[in-house]
Symmetry: C2
Subunit: 465 residues, 2 copies
């Protein structure tokens, strides 16, 4: 957000705080709906009704779709039923359905009953699609014409719907059974002779998506093919609606946020409210689960350390490089899993590529392990004696450095491979790679790292017996 805009929003918030009607009205006059929604969300709950009243039902109806899910019902309830009807009526049908999905089931029916019959029916139809499907996200208010029309027929036909149609960037051409044949651009209508048959100027429509498909798939298609609109069809290829590029942006941003959060062990749905507006208890619930599980699992590493008590107390200098070897595994495993999870999210990889990923990452793991072994091995040979550290009789620092280097190389190579293959394995068994990989990798790699380190050290160094 620009600093100028942030300043305006703050002044509005102050004006609301001091209940200064005139000031709020003046400052909000030229503001975009998305910004007004931000002000509403940021306002203290007891000030929201005051603000909604100033905006009025007409303006507020455009603010509604930009509000976080959790605030929608209360926001609507601040208005009279007659105003609610007007507000719901004026919205494009995808926004109306979105809003109705956000209110409690008991209220939903009341709101639907406010609509006129036509809108009530189309709303009910759309509500049947799951919220996360292409059908649940599409808008049905699109330009649709028949292939056997002329341009003049088409323009006359479209004219009736021109105000209710959300987008005319593409006008879709269907046959008598409503099956999708292709598209024309509005400019093709505007700049061709009026008696041209639509059939002659239509372009075969390329990709389309089933209404039952995941909304994420729709968004990825729009992204891959640089499309402005993606047609949504049923099993018989009948045109139902479109997903727009701005929907795709929203869906892809949500998915990225979710993937980042999952990788950090944050569970549950991403909050629609901003970070600061999300309640403490919500933050707590999303973070606590994995923390407890991971803490319990991390005791396993402690068991391994207990098991090697003798080795560690015999050569306590081993502790100088113990945290490093363990951490190096976490770092390399984390890098590999991030690369692979993101490549899968972008559609570049799937489980059929397992062998190629394994081949690539095992070579990478060896190279990275080799480099680290060289650097840290040299440190282990030369640094401790410089600090006056000693080893038990029968050992020298070359052996010690070698032990550290070999353990590190093995740890890094196995961790890289585990980090790369775990997410693919998760995908192969239909689990979410992002949610499984990070915690599992941390735990596995930590335990394995301890075992590798102490085992290698015990076999290379001479422990006092």
């Amino acid at each position: 957000m620009s600093e100028e805009l942030a300043g305006v929003l703050e002044r509005i918030e102050n004006a609301i705080e001091s209940r200064d009607d005139a000031k709020v009205r003046e400052l909000t006059e030229n503001l975009h709906y998305a910004d007004l929604a931000q002000v509403y969300e940021d306002a203290a709950p007891e000030n929201r009704e005051f603000f909604a009243e100033i905006l009025g039902s007409d303006k507020f109806s455009e603010v509604l779709p930009d509000l976080p899910d959790t605030l929608v019902e209360d926001a609507l309830e601040q208005f009279e039923p007659a105003e609610q009807r007007e507000m719901l009526d004026s919205l494009p049908d995808d926004d109306r359905v979105d809003i109705l999905q956000d209110v409690s089931e008991s209220k939903r029916q009341d709101f639907i009953d406010l609509l006129d019959e036509e809108k009530r029916n189309s709303t009910r139809t759309l509500l049947r699609y799951g919220e996360d499907t292409a059908g649940g996200r599409m808008t049905t208010q699109i330009g649709k014409i028949r292939a056997n029309m002329t341009i003049k027929d088409a323009i006359d036909f479209l004219r009736d719907d021109v105000e209710s149609t959300e987008t005319m960037a593409r006008i879709f051409v269907v046959d008598a059974q409503d099956r999708l044949l292709g598209k024309v651009r509005l400019r093709d209508l505007a700049f061709n002779p009026w008696d041209t048959p639509i059939r002659d100027i239509l372009t075969d429509e390329e990709p389309s998506i089933l209404a039952s498909a995941d909304q994420e798939e729709a968004a990825k298609m729009l992204a891959r093919y640089d499309m402005v609109l993606l047609p949504v069809v049923d099993e018989a290829n009948r045109l139902l609606g479109v997903i727009t590029a701005d929907d795709a942006i929203e869906i892809l941003e949500e998915e990225s946020t979710e993937d980042m959060e999952k990788a950090a062990g944050i569970a549950g749905e991403t909050s629609e409210e901003t970070y600061l507006n999300t309640a403490l208890i919500t933050h707590f619930k999303r973070r606590a689960g994995w923390l407890v599980i991971l803490a319990l699992l991390a005791i396993l590493s402690g068991f391994v350390m207990m098991h090697f008590e003798q080795t560690l107390t015999d050569i306590f200098l081993l502790s100088l490089f113990l945290p490093m070897v363990v951490a190096a595994g976490g770092n390399t495993g984390g890098q590999a899993s991030t690369m692979v999870i993101r490549a899968m999210a972008l559609g570049e990889l799937d489980p059929s590529d397992t062998a190629r990923v394994a081949w690539k990452e095992s070579r990478l793991g060896l190279c990275l392990g080799g480099l680290l072994a060289l650097v840290i091995g040299l440190v282990a040979i030369f640094a401790p004696p410089a600090f006056g550290a000693t080893l038990p009789d029968g050992n020298n620092f070359t052996q010690f450095g070698l032990a550290v280097a070999i353990a590190l190389a093995v740890q890094v190579t196995t961790s890289t491979l585990i980090g790369a293959l775990l997410p693919i394995g998760a995908r192969a068994v239909k689990m979410d790679p992002a949610v499984i990989a990070a915690p599992a990798i941390t735990t596995i790699v930590d335990v394995i790292g301890m075992v590798i380190y102490f085992t290698v050290a015990a076999s290379i160094l001479n422990l006092p017996s």
Copy 2:
């Protein structure tokens, strides 16, 4: 990617492998350019010329913009200068500029010289904007009319440019000095009387962006305001071009990928090639840097462990919970930094919110620390005796559990706060929060965790003297 599409691409790859012209031609006939670009990228380097030849310069010119940067120059060089001219000529100017930015400087001049004078000049102008700015990303082939025209004038005026104009979803209205006044929709032209003055139907254009602004800022504006096109202007508000929603999708996906990679300690520019097509050495270079630095820093934790040798050997049972306490700090710090970094990326937070973030996260840290302390404290009291573990004289397991619990609570609270505030601090001093936070947090939290654990244990437990 759908399985069906993946299957088609594989069959094409096999046909290319066996140099089967007819088959390749047949399979690629109805394929989208983005998919053809994928095939070209996935093909072995020695097969690419064969494939490019089959597609021909006409079709290949549409494939070019979808190729990874690194492949563009070689791809162009496979064609004769006359074909190169045709290819560059046929592209929209933003794509042409993108491509010219990807070729070496010595070649760039040759390619520019192929263009006719008008395109040469506009290309040179666009090349002056940085590759990552709004100006460098915009397309200039837009519909632009004067406010003093009638609809008929406007349509006649636009008709000449109808084929070269990339987008007519919005037509922009300017004054005699080319300053942006507002916009009309093509449908407003198509469905209003022809003598209506443009001035009467124009809508005030809301947000626009300076050509020198970062492309990410442009993408975020498109996302925030659900826009299809964002006008790009110069300091005098003269309209230069537009950024489209599909550009925004690309920019935002790149940014998300970069942020995820940075959080995993992967350095440098995100590869434009797919994971599998990126060279081993590129993967290696991007991952090695932070690994070496982090490994060296992790030796600090080893120093702390060495420092507490006596405490650890006196009560070796402490090692059972040592890795857990350290890891819990990394996990909570990682969660907090992920939340804050993403909130900053989405424009929800900036350094002025530091106090509110600190207040929120310190309470969260206390709650999470309290919960973990309770769970793990109970484990520490009851589990070790059940396994037959003993403590030195003068200690009991209640004390031991209390020591573990207190250390864990302190570690989790401080780590949460560090994880949340470090990225904000980085942003405040104009550093990239994503690149700084993760490695710094890991190192700091590991070291602090060891110190906290041993200090708390030494002060609560009775060590044999």
